[in-house]
Subunit: 275 residues, 2 copies
């Protein structure tokens, strides 16, 4: 993937320190977002998730508001992009133990706009992957830089014909997609897996839960098994880059409806201009 620019703490850089703890241990968090006409959708949610992730990892971020100012300048310089923000604990320390004086690093990346086939916004087919997510309450929900599971699962997905697929944890519960969260509709209720033992608490997942509440749709987290997906009225994937992908069939089983999914899609289109 081409990189259009990389900034470090507000300044353009070409390279970074070999002592970066983000490389040594994946010691940081990140987020990715769509930027159109200089506007990043759900930007406040992305910053909130970054800040919450840093808090859970005990990464001090005294410069948070400065980074937010810097990012406004970045949006002006690169108004059409897929933007990525990485915050790390900084450099050095004695092995795993962080240096208490280490200054956190904030990186901005400008990548070309990611485009997906428009037909994915209509319906996609999917299946369950064989690879399983671990169970790890200490780190679950955080969009941290320890993403080897997703790298391996993404390679399994590439062996299939599906644009996205469902992933279970080692206990057999469905948790998410490879790079998406997932919802089902059952009896007019919107249900999504918990992400407190495995998985990532996606920004779009949070937005959809709030949107449902605004629209008077009952929506909540629930433990969901593969059978719940096969017996669902509707299923959809979501993330910050593409919005919502309705699922037409899972492992050959046709799903009966997409009506609530389409309602949410049209609401997203009205409220977030890019999707």
């Amino acid at each position: 993937m081409t990189l259009n620019a990389c900034w470090h703490n507000g300044q353009p850089i070409q390279q970074l320190s070999p002592l970066e703890r983000g490389l040594a241990y994946g010691d940081g968090v990140f987020t990715t977002m769509a930027v159109r006409q200089g506007r990043a959708a759900l930007l406040a949610y992305h910053w909130q998730r970054l800040e919450h992730g840093c808090q859970r990892l005990a990464i001090n971020t005294p410069n948070f508001s400065q980074w937010q100012d810097d990012f406004r300048r970045f949006l002006i310089c690169y108004p059409e992009m897929t933007a990525k923000i990485i915050i790390t604990r900084g450099e050095g320390g004695r092995g795993y133990l962080p240096d208490l004086l280490a200054q956190p690093n904030c990186y901005f990346y400008a990548f070309p706009v990611v485009s997906y086939p428009e037909s994915y916004q209509q319906v996609i087919s999917t299946d369950f992957l064989h690879g399983r997510l671990g169970v790890n309450p200490l780190l679950a929900g955080i969009k941290h830089l320890n993403r080897l599971e997703q790298v391996l699962l993404r390679q399994e997905l590439a062996q299939t014909s599906y644009p996205e697929a469902l992933v279970c944890d080692v206990t057999g519960k469905v948790i998410e997609g490879v790079f998406s969260n997932v919802f089902i509709v059952k009896n007019h209720q919107l249900l999504t897996p918990y992400v407190n033992e495995a998985g990532v608490a996606g920004v779009m997942r949070r937005y959809i839960l709030q949107l449902a509440a605004e629209l008077g749709i009952i929506a909540h987290e629930k433990n969901l098994m593969p059978a719940d997906f096969l017996a669902a009225d509707e299923v959809f994937f979501c993330n910050s880059l593409y919005g919502i992908w309705p699922v037409a069939q899972i492992a050959g089983t046709m799903l009966p409806s997409h009506s609530l999914t389409q309602k949410l899609q049209s609401q997203l289109e009205q409220r977030l201009s890019y999707v």
Copy 2:
């Protein structure tokens, strides 16, 4: 921690690429070893573990023998150091999906020699930490770059007076130390936890299992609970940098003996000159 040198694929560097997948996803493996008088103890074991880790992560390493040649030069340049080798999948790719043409990167780091109090080689006290390791068969055993669990546990350890502590997984089994593997002796047998659901398969752990076989000591992997440690005849930690640390007491419970531990220590001293 001061860095004396960093090499990338055989050449000294000052900085590295922002597109390094090691930063983006922790997409790689590493190992750390003691180097004295230009000799790295158990070097063949370290390379074997790096290669095995790359195989499990499907990282192609066509340049492996070149890297080994390069490292021989590195040892000549830096004969007294703590050496770290990092191998990553390389740069770029489309999100989590690797670029099939990506070339892996091999980094050598020369850090100052790590010194521990000599008294740790006599006996240490320890306890169980509260933080739990996740359960993740896909990644367990590999010394990969996804080390946020260890970063968090190392911070918990720093709040105690112990040089190392015991860590359980979410199911309650004892797995390892924060930066060590662990053994118990019970009825003249040497037992160490499995590392196929959580934990790292340490180089020193492997060496001690082989050494025990050579010495006619029965040694094997076993599921071990905290109660097994409190009722053990002997307990010790081990890793590549310090060798063996005998445990005198766990959570206030005195352990009755160190005789087999001391026998293993003296064998290590004879066979690996640095410990």
